[in-house]
């Protein structure tokens, strides 16, 4: 295209349009963010804590994709590359291989010929009892992403062995549709009454698994969720009233207070990697550890965007370059200023990681 269609007037207009933009100096801030304290088994980790990176400016992409509220991850091509949205320079052609969603197509109606990174909520044990937690999983789609995400949640397809479904075996989602500002989830194989052996709390959590997952995967805010059973409206599912559309229960009463979003169970990590998640932790402090067996080999903390009223996103950078290759556990925790003396103690979310 070199010359015949190169319009110098456009060059001038575009250059002129930003000629008055004088960005603030950010080198110091970038340096702060890239300064990762080296940590190794040879150095006591105590010295490293003070140097841990405080990620004040979480990446735009990471906040959007992994923030406290479910966001458009399911249909976003970038999200299907990696949760942190890092471009891969060696795969320059990759963006074109990703499906380009058209603007007016709802995720539930998207063609099924792709793969996507889907959010799904599962049950897990915490010091506060059973809570829900979110996991992202990259899956090949044979149906719309919202339907696939709800199926993952209901059938318990989590990668993390600590996560499970609250739904009785045999339950599944037939289809999920978005229409007129509401999400309709059509279930099958699920009992209308509460099965014996299932507590009322578990039944509520099962319903909330579907509500949170459908809202997150649909990525259109907190839409009401209408449950149907085999295509027909039903007064109850698992003994919970479903005659009207359901809203999500309060985060603080429903979600585990910390979870890791950007690591998959068993993921191989770079020497330095960015990890993100959501938490509601004392003074927004989210301590993390890398453990080998019971031994802590690296440690630091992230700072979430907020705390108290709900879960807020956090992002931090972890340096494992000094660690010997092997399998480790990454744990993100809520802060417990009492050191366990009060309350139920910290919640933690753990992921197995592999250091090359």
């Amino acid at each position: 295209m070199n010359d015949h269609d190169h319009d110098p007037r456009l060059s001038h207009l575009l250059s002129d349009a930003v000629s008055n933009v004088e960005p603030q100096d950010a080198l110091a801030e970038i340096r702060t963010r890239t300064k990762v304290t080296p940590m190794s088994a040879r150095r006591p980790w105590l010295f490293a804590v003070g140097g841990a990176v405080v990620a004040t400016a979480a990446t735009v992409a990471a906040v959007a994709a992994l923030g406290g509220n479910p966001q458009p991850t399911a249909q976003d091509p970038a999200a299907s590359q990696s949760p942190t949205g890092e471009p891969a320079p060696s795969q320059a052609s990759e963006p074109t291989q990703q499906p380009e969603p058209t603007e007016d197509t709802t995720p539930a109606e998207q063609p099924a010929s792709a793969s996507a990174t889907l959010p799904a909520y599962y049950l897990r044990e915490t010091p506060q009892g059973l809570r829900l937690t979110r996991e992202f999983q990259h899956v090949d789609l044979s149906d719309g992403p919202v339907t696939e995400a709800v199926r993952l949640a209901v059938t318990g397809g989590a990668l993390d062995p600590d996560y499970r479904t609250a739904w009785p075996a045999g339950s599944n989602a037939k289809s999920v549709s978005l229409d007129g500002g509401a999400i309709t989830v059509d279930l099958t194989g699920a009992p209308q009454g509460r099965p014996s052996g299932m507590s009322g709390e578990q039944a509520e959590l099962a319903i909330q698994q579907v509500v949170y997952t459908a809202q997150a995967a649909a990525a259109q805010g907190r839409l009401p969720v209408q449950l149907t059973l085999d295509g027909a409206s039903t007064a109850q599912v698992l003994g919970v009233s479903t005659s009207e559309a359901l809203s999500n229960a309060a985060e603080n009463d429903t979600l585990a207070l910390v979870s890791v979003s950007s690591l998959s169970e068993g993921e191989t990590v770079d020497d330095r990697f960015t990890v993100s998640g959501v938490a509601n932790s004392f003074e927004a402090t989210v301590p993390w550890e890398v453990r080998q067996g019971d031994k802590v080999v690296a440690k630091g903390f992230a700072t979430a965007d907020g705390w108290m009223d709900k879960l807020y996103p956090w992002t931090t950078r972890v340096d494992v370059s000094k660690l010997a290759p092997g399998t480790y556990t990454f744990a993100a925790m809520t802060d417990d200023p009492s050191g366990g003396a009060e309350g139920a103690g910290p919640t933690e979310d753990t992921k197995t990681i592999v250091v090359k």
């Binding site: 250059s15 970038i30 976003d76 949205g85 963006p95 074109t96």
Partner: protein, 188 residues
């Protein structure tokens, strides 16, 4: 690639580029490209604060990858790609609020009374026009007309074919000429 490192005075005192560590590379890349990349991102997302965040993130990412890039040209190509990708994500994920007005620079004294107003209006019109274009056209035009990249460099940065670059450039240029007709003709 024609974009060599342009760090004033750096060549005399710095070790060869291939021996830069990640921190040195970061400092030199920042000195050479920070402002231009922020401006590139402003052409894509419009909001200056958002653009600064995006480009900061790109510099953090390039620091991470220096051990694999080890070359200023490759690093610059990576930075551009990261800025374009992250700008695209930012637009998709959040409505970028136009906070740019707060950062307008003070107009120099001595200009005709209405000149600053006209200049500001023209800049706003150009940025609005860019925002109104389809994503790929906007990206191709920014890389082509602002960074002056070749067709091949744009194809590589966006991960699309040269033919696609050509067609986005042609359609985007035509659209921009239509949208900005007044400014194209009035400019002396």
């Amino acid at each position: 690639m024609t974009h060599a490192m342009a760090v004033p005075g750096a060549s005399a005192v710095s070790p060869p580029e291939s021996t830069w560590d990640a921190d040195t590379a970061l400092t030199n890349l920042y000195a050479a490209h920070w402002r231009q990349l922020v401006r590139l991102s402003v052409l894509l997302v419009r909001d200056v604060a958002t653009a600064e965040e995006i480009v900061q993130d790109a510099f953090v990412a390039v620091h991470d990858r220096w051990s694999r890039l080890r070359d200023p040209d490759k690093a610059l190509a990576y930075l551009r790609q990261a800025v374009v990708n992250r700008s695209r994500s930012a637009l998709r994920h959040r409505t970028v609020v136009a906070k740019h007005a707060a950062r307008e620079t003070v107009q120099p004294n001595g200009a005709p009374a209405d000149a600053p107003v006209l200049a500001a209006a023209r800049r706003a019109a150009v940025l609005d026009a860019m925002r109104s274009l389809p994503e790929r056209q906007r990206e191709v035009l920014a890389l082509r007309y602002y960074l002056d990249l070749s067709e091949a460099e744009i194809a590589e940065a966006l991960g699309i074919s040269r033919g696609a670059v050509k067609s986005h450039a042609s359609r985007g240029s035509a659209a921009l000429r239509t949208l900005l007709g007044d400014y194209l003709e009035d400019r002396s």
